[in-house]
Amino acid sequence: MESTVFAARPHVVGTENTVDQAPAAPVEEILTTVLANDSINDEYKHLIVTASPKALTAKPGQFFHWLCPSPDEGDLWLRRPQSIYVVDKERQRLEFLYKCVGRGTNGAATLKPGDTFNMVGPLGVGFSMEPGWKNVVVLGRGVGLATLAPISQLIAENGIGATVILSARSPDLAMSGDLFEKAGAEVITVTDTDGTSAVENVEAIIEQRVADNRADAFFTCGSNRLFMLMKRLGKKHNVPGQVAMEQIMACGLGPCYVCVRTFEIDGVKTLKRVCIEGPVFDMQEAMGW
């Protein structure tokens, strides 16, 4: 019998007889095993998978490229990027928080414990903390909360204080708070339900932190409106910032130029690739989306 669709023996780590062909390469295609894939609210699922040593080198803000199973009878051929939520080095696990929006993510939602799940990673440039930063402000909304979550690992490791503003439609969608609280951060949840998520309110909170000298850097993801706010405040107060961006992808590795976003550097517009030059970018250079 002839295999009809794929290379019979892709160099996927986790398959039988896999020889790591490029041990020096930082990225690999791995077959993970699903440990859990539970709904945490109406929109999001929490995936936990086993990880290879290379996968465990993933840094906050980096992402993995998922080969999602099909939710219907058709194959999915392109991968879907998902940023890392938790890197659990101790238990050798990766965790993701994802929203079911289309075919890929709805396919991922069908995964059950024990299933194998193919992903490529870790990919991209993640968040970074500069020596000297004592307190940072983290602002996220929606799916951005998943991407920002591993910043909690960064601040814990670096002994940095943080104000974390979680914006959400309703309290049950304000995810990742627990991770930040465990890392010692002050977590403020603002919601549409009680009106606290209004830009003015969020602006006031951030201004207060700047006034209190507790804003050495800004981090944001998930809402263009909030990004614009933080960019403005960062510019106003000269606070450096980082933003994690999204774009539709193909290769995830740099060659294809599918995932470009517009940036403005010294007044000159330029395109950068989210997959390899990001997904985390300088907040003042990013143009929003």
Partner: protein, 314 residues
């Protein structure tokens, strides 16, 4: 021991697998051992800095994808200074893909990229994602011939001409390229295609249309390779929808001397290495000592009488 080496004219490869232009860069070393490839091939270079087309630049379709990248790049100067050295860190011979909308400029670019380390040129006259009529010379035999003639005069490097599957009569374009001095033909670029999002009613691509690649196009491009190999005597590089070793065999049987892989690397980033290894194993099992012997080995002396064929075994 299978001999995997092939030649495209004077261009020698340790195995017949190279990346397709625009789907590969030295950045692939993040995940693979680039030195395993039969050759390296750059993204198509233009003279000027180009932004490319508005996103979204990719749309997934059944058995493939449509892209409308639009040949972005930092221009030839940046390329010569920064990118060539980057490619030359690897051992496989380097092919540079160039394009232009002006015949004479094509030749000038060919001259400029004829620098040490570059072992062949691929002449991209077939990108369907650039501006309409923007250098898609491969739709016309005369334009193809003119480009190839001028490029031929401008360089001593082997010239591989990348044809367009959107041409009505690709065989006549192939002949024109051969007569004008092409050393080989890359068959082929992507097929102009479209997807419309039935939620938003909008085209799925920022450029509305784009080029389809992936397994969906393989039967079409394979047919073109077969037709062209009967019509020309220069080597053919097969390109379109190759995702496994058997696809390489199929293209070689149809007449290809080597192949390019694009789409498969998006799905499995080490696909090319797997394909090379599987090809070796396939040949080994089959007792085929030289993979080069597969080129044109299709057995196509079919029975032409319908009654006789319809009384034969399956």
């Amino acid at each position: 021991m299978v001999d995997l080496s092939v030649k495209i004219g004077s261009f020698e490869m340790t195995n017949p697998v190279m990346p397709a232009s625009g789907t590969f860069s030295p950045e692939m070393e993040q995940v693979m051992d680039i030195n395993r490839l039969g050759a390296t091939l750059t993204k198509t270079i233009s003279r000027e800095l180009r932004d490319g087309n508005p996103p979204p630049r990719v749309a997934e379709v059944e058995c493939g994808m449509i892209n409308c990248i639009g040949l972005p790049g930092k221009g030839i100067e940046y390329f010569l200074e920064n990118q060539i050295p980057d490619y030359l860190r690897f051992s496989p011979p380097l092919i540079v893909s160039i394009t232009s909308t002006i015949h004479e400029d094509f030749a000038a670019m060919a001259r400029e990229v004829t620098v040490p380390g570059v072992k062949a040129l691929e002449i991209n006259i077939s990108c369907p994602t650039r501006d309409p009529n923007g250098g898609n010379f491969a739709l016309h035999a005369d334009e193809t011939a003119e480009t190839v003639r001028l490029v031929r005069a401008a360089t001593d490097l082997p010239i591989f001409v990348k044809l367009s599957p959107n041409a009505g009569d690709i065989v006549s374009i192939a002949r024109a390229a051969e007569e004008a001095g092409a050393d080989a033909l890359t068959v082929a670029n992507t097929i102009l295609s479209m997807r419309i999002d039935t939620h938003s009613f909008r085209p799925s691509l920022g450029h509305k249309v784009g080029g389809m690649s992936g397994p969906a196009v393989k039967p079409i491009i394979l047919r073109m390779v077969y037709q062209i190999s009967k019509a020309v005597s220069i080597p053919i590089i097969g390109c379109g929808g190759i995702v496994k070793a058997e696809d390489v065999v199929e293209y070689m049987l149809a007449g290809a001397s080597a192949v390019q892989v694009g789409y498969a690397s998006f799905r499995n980033p080490t696909a090319m290495v797997s394909i090379i290894e599987d090809l070796e194993e396939w040949c080994d099992k089959r007792g085929i000592a030289r993979v080069a012997d597969l080129t044109g080995a299709v057995q196509d002396d079919m029975e032409t009488d319908t009654y006789i064929a319809a009384a034969a075994g399956i």
